[in-house]
Each structure stands twice: as structure tokens, then as C-alpha cells.
Amino acid sequence: MYPADFHYTKEHEWVRAAGDGTATVGITFHAQKELGDIVYVDLPKTGTAVQAGKTMGSVESVKAVSDVYAPVSGEVVEINEMLAQAPEKLNEDPHGEAWLVKIRLSAPEEIQKLLSAEDYQSYVGAE
């Protein structure tokens, strides 16, 4: 369910380091399932500086609006433009096609402090 090469937060974001100083960020399968049908995704602009643990955008479903927290610090270098037209992709493929942003990491070591796939699985299993 949860890819082993991702890292996860307790706020249900995932990060995948690309190995070139950037990382891709998204929300987890569990997050989209809890939110239900997603109807709107609000992402930061390219160039925005984000800080680990702080709000960087929001995801809106029929049920609720939920903040998305930056799992790592850095600068947003790319956003997933597709989500503006097709927010439902977040329900369909949250770990793949429907990534949210790519971030140039300012503190790459932050990733190691996040949860492993195994830890995250037991965290959401227990929640």
C-alpha cells in the first residue's frame, strides 16, 4: 500500500527524494480516503519558500477543507498543474500521478526524521 521509498508525516503527507536535491510531495492514500471526494486543491506558487511543519496549501473535499503541511523545508520548484482541472486524481492515484509539489530541499536531513512506510502503516492502522 505505502511505497517503501517514500517517507511520511503524521499529518498524512508523503515525500520522495529524487536524489538531485529535490523531493516530490503528496498526500497519502489514507488522507484522501478520510477526506472523501476531493473537489479542489490549493497549492503554493512556484518559487514559494516553505517550512517543514507549516501550512503550504489545502485540499477541499465535499466534507471538509484540510490544510496540507510542508513535510520538508525548501523552495517550491514545480506544482502539479493537472490538479486544478482534475482534483479527482487525488482520490485515484495519490501516490503517483497526483503528486502535489516538487521542492528544492534546504535541509535534506529533515527527510530522515519522517516516518518510514512501515511506521506510517502502523500509525494509520492504530489511528
Binding site: D37, V39, T55, E60, V62, A64, V65, P87
Partner: protein, 500 residues
């Protein structure tokens, strides 16, 4: 499809556009007794339209029937209990309407000279004084048009105070149980928002607050009682923590119906707050207003209040625009005056003792509902209930029935639903606020309906999951409505997602 099978409440009412028949008219005009002019020549061609495409042509009785039928699709406090939590859907006493319709008030114009507006000004001054007394604050502005506008005004006042002291500061602290308008307000006023977690009793975690509150904190925005319907019993300690860092305590007055006549925010450390006059002090609301978000402040924030301020001069009321520290106007003229008149009528008709009684009745009603429903629905917070109670759908969810399903089934029982899925910190929240309006008989009808639905959720979950069964349309496609909204009717287009 046969369109007319039952009484009108369940019948599909077409749009006026769809009933249009060329040449039909519902009016008669007298013959023109002045020379005809060409509008295009007088107004300029770009300002006139030759024809309005597909403008409906119908008879008078068709128009009357259309709107009368639509009005009966509505649910209103005049039809029964309106348990929408956090909204304080109390009854608007008819005397309010009688007073607001007095000719001199209904026809007053804001450009009328002050000498001809003394009565209106006196009403506003009296209301300001009454609200200051009820809240224990020093000054009140009646300008803001509704609650969120009041919040924004209040936080602007906080910013102005900090700026005057040399540093506007950076962040506003907001509990995770807050109304969504609180963080929106703080962001709009240019502040960062920091969340404070709640403890297991639904109250602010004091240790977390102590840790997060710094010299960068402009204010805490707190709702008391909070959205779980619980009084923040550490409120004076909370205010001390904020004040020690030079930060302000903003109170969202959404739940003031639990406090009027019993406790005053000004006495427990609040610096600035708004009141929803359209909630706490009756006046009709819902359907988009108008509302009134009066803001009350302690004296240190008074210099920043919006202009103009009412001032007593030489035995007459006058508007004072000479307010150099003011944040300026926040609304055209002086607020939603008709709402102000109704709020004052409500306050004066009750008197101090009456307002206190109303509050006690609101608390009694909420506690009665809690006691009666607790055996049937999960009540997650073990703290005393104030004016509203929040259950969770945990027991029913085991049978696949969620808070939204129970709410829709309530419609079949003839009630407006409670507030669904709010506050967010309660999973599957069901938020019920009866207000003091209801007597025991109506409360028992509601309680019986809820208990009956709780039984249905176990015995026949499908019945609840497919509700409502008695309405014109049942469940609509909320997802498509949000993802691909169709906001304009076009000729020949079929309504999408309608459940016929």
C-alpha cells in the same frame, strides 16, 4: 413522468423560464401621457438592450403560485425546531418586526441631517451601551455587517494597537476547535496562524498555549463556550498567558447565547470580541443576512474603532469623524440599521432578568437533549454542556450510518438537520443547539425522532442511508456540484444529477 401526483410540496416546480409562453403578460401599464423618447438617444446606445433573450412571459397568478410554492419548500423556525448548532437559530419575536417597521425607522435615510435622525442615533447609542454592559467591555462599534466582518474588524484593531506600540507582530493563535472564519480572518489581516490543540475534555491545552505564545503573538482568537459547547474554564489563566506577552485576547462571540446575563467576557480577560446580533439577539437570519457583527473593545483599543463614532454634544447626538488613530470605515454608513433596531427591541423587551432567563433556558434545553440522547449516541467530551451539545456518529458508524445520513433522515421526520461534521475535532460530529426558543413538547418530538433513527441505523441501515424519502428530490450529486458546477440555466439543458 407525471408531474402532479401529490400536494405541491413534493411536486417538481419548473423555472419561470420553462413555463414561459410567448405573448403572456402579468401587468398592465397606463397609456403613455408624456412624449415618447428613444432610450438609445438619451442614454447612449451602449447602455440599452433591444431585448432580453428568453425573458419569461407568464401571467400574474403563475408568478404568484411559483413563488408561493417555492416558499413552502423552505424550512423555517416558524415551522419547528431548527437545531443547527453554532448558528443559534432562535425565534425572532414579532415585536421586533413591528418596531423595525415603524415609518420613521423603516424610511430613515443615512443622508438625512443629524437633526432629523436623533431618534435613530439614540437607538444606536442605547444599543452600544446595552452591549457594552452585557459584555463587560468599554466601547462598541455597530458598523460590521456580520460575524466574519466583525472578526476582521476586531483583528484590524489588534493590529492597529500593536502597530501604535511599534510592532504589529506576526502570528495569531487559534484553537483547533475554532470556526473556519477565525484562521481566515487572521490570514486576511496579514497574520500567520498557529493551531493550539484541544485536550480530551475539548478545552484548550494550556501547556501548548504557554509554549506557543511568544512576543511574536498578536492575539489569541478564542470562542467561549467553544464549538464543542464547552466553557473554557481556564479562561482567566489563558488571558494571563497572553497578556504577559503583550498579546490580546479576541473572543468570537458566536456562542454568546450561553453567557448573556450570567458571565461577561470583559470580566474574564477578553480585550476585543464581536457579537452576532443576528444570532444572540434574535433578528431573522439564514439565507444570507443581513446580519450584524458588532465589535466590543476594552478602553485600550477604543481609539482605533472605525469612524465615525457617536458622540453626545450639546443635548444632541452627532457623528465624530475626528479620530486620528481610527482604522477608518469598515462599511458604508453605520451598519445594518434594521438589524440594530431589532436587537435593541429584543434586549429591551427582555430586560436584564429576561435575558438571563433566556440564557438559562437555552442551557437547560441543551442539557435536556444531551441527557436524553446520551444513551443512544456517543458523547465524546465529558465536560459540562453549555448551550449546545456535540455527539459523534461512532455507534451508528458501526452499521455504516454516518452523521450526514442521520441528518438526512431527520428531514423525513420533519426537522431541519443539526450541524453535520463540525467541529472538525469530533469525528462524525452531530452538533445540536436548541436555543431557549423551544418548549419541552417540541424538544421531545425531536428527541423521539433521533432515538427512532438510532434504532433504524441498527435494524434497517438502508432506510437511513437512502434518506430523505419524503422530499421532492432526495440525494443530489454533491461531488459533481462542487467539481463541475453549473451555475447558469440554459434553454433545453437537463438538470444534471437531479434524482427524479
Amino acid at each position: 413522468m407525471i408531474r402532479k401526483v401529490r400536494s405541491h410540496i413534493t411536486q417538481n416546480e419548473p423555472l419561470l423560464f420553462e413555463t414561459s409562453s410567448p405573448g403572456k403578460i402579468g401587468y398592465q401599464l397606463p397609456e403613455l401621457d408624456v412624449p415618447a423618447v428613444d432610450p438609445a438617444a438619451v442614454l447612449g446606445k451602449e447602455n440599452t438592450r433591444g431585448e432580453i433573450e428568453d425573458f419569461p412571459e407568464i401571467s400574474e397568478v403563475e408568478a404568484i403560485r411559483h413563488f408561493t410554492r417555492l416558499s413552502t419548500y423552505n424550512y423555517a423556525i416558524d415551522l419547528g425546531l431548527y437545531p443547527l448548532g453554532s448558528c443559534t437559530m432562535k425565534y425572532n419575536p414579532r415585536v421586533n418586526e413591528a418596531v423595525a417597521r415603524i415609518d420613521g425607522l423603516a424610511w430613515a435615510h443615512p443622508y438625512q441631517p443629524e437633526s432629523l435622525s436623533q431618534g435613530a442615533l439614540e437607538i444606536m447609542a442605547t444599543l452600544e451601551a446595552a452591549l457594552a454592559e452585557i459584555t463587560g467591555m468599554d466601547a462598541v462599534t455597530l458598523q460590521p455587517a456580520a460575524g466574519a466582518h466583525g472578526e476582521f474588524t476586531g483583528i484590524q484593531l489588534v493590529r492597529a494597537l500593536h502597530q501604535a506600540r511599534g510592532n504589529a507582530r506576526k502570528k495569531v493563535l487559534i484553537p483547533d476547535s475554532a470556526h473556519g472564519t477565525n484562521p481566515a480572518t487572521a490570514r486576511m489581516a496579514g497574520y500567520e496562524v498557529e493551531n493550539i490543540p484541544s485536550n480530551e475534555r475539548g478545552m484548550i491545552d494550556i501547556e501548548a498555549l504557554d509554549r506557543l505564545c511568544t512576543e511574536d503573538t498578536a492575539a489569541l482568537m478564542i470562542t467561549n463556550p467553544n464549538t464543542v459547547g464547552v466553557f473554557e474554564e481556564n479562561i482567566t489563566r489563558i488571558a494571563e498567558i497572553l497578556h504577559a506577552k503583550g498579546a490580546m485576547v479576541y473572543m468570537d462571540g458566536a456562542n454568546m447565547n450561553a453567557l448573556v446575563g450570567i458571565a461577561r467576557p470583559g470580566d474574564f480577560g477578553v480585550d476585543v470580541m464581536h457579537l452576532n446580533l443576528h444570532k444572540t439577539f434574535s433578528t431573522p437570519h439564514g439565507g444570507g443576512g443581513p446580519g450584524s457583527g458588532a465589535v466590543a473593545v476594552k478602553s485600550h483599543l477604543e481609539p482605533f474603532l472605525p469612524t465615525p463614532r457617536l458622540r453626545r454634544a450639546e443635548n444632541a447626538w452627532t457623528w465624530d469623524y475626528d479620530r486620528p488613530s481610527s482604522i477608518g470605515k469598515v462599511r458604508a454608513f453605520y451598519g445594518n440599521f434594521g438589524v440594530l433596531v431589532r436587537a435593541l427591541a429584543y434586549i429591551m423587551a427582555h430586560g436584564g432578568a429576561g435575558l438571563r432567563n433566556a440564557t438559562m433556558d437555552a442551557l437547560l434545553n441543551a442539557n435536556y437533549i444531551r441527557a436524553k440522547l446520551e444513551p443512544h449516541f456517543e458523547h465524546p467530551h465529558r465536560a459540562p454542556t453549555m448551550h449546545e451539545c456535540v455527539f459523534s456518529d461512532e455507534i451508528q458508524a458501526r452499521h455504516g450510518v454516518r452523521t450526514g445520513d442521520i441528518a438526512k433522515r431527520l428531514i423525513d421526520y420533519g426537522f431541519h438537520p443539526y450541524t453535520v461534521s463540525f467541529p472538525l475535532i469530533v469525528h462524525g460530529a452531530m452538533m445540536i443547539e436548541p436555543t431557549e426558543t423551544e418548549g419541552k413538547r417540541e424538544l421531545d418530538l425531536f428527541i423521539d425522532a433521533m432515538i427512532s433513527i438510532a434504532a433504524e441505523a441498527v435494524e434497517n441501515p438502508e432506510l437511513v442511508l437512502k434518506a430523505p424519502h419524503s422530499t421532492r428530490t432526495s440525494r443530489v450529486d454533491e461531488v459533481m456540484a462542487a467539481r463541475k458546477p453549473i451555475v447558469r440555466w440554459k434553454p433545453g439543458a437537463e438538470a444534471p444529477g437531479a434524482n427524479d
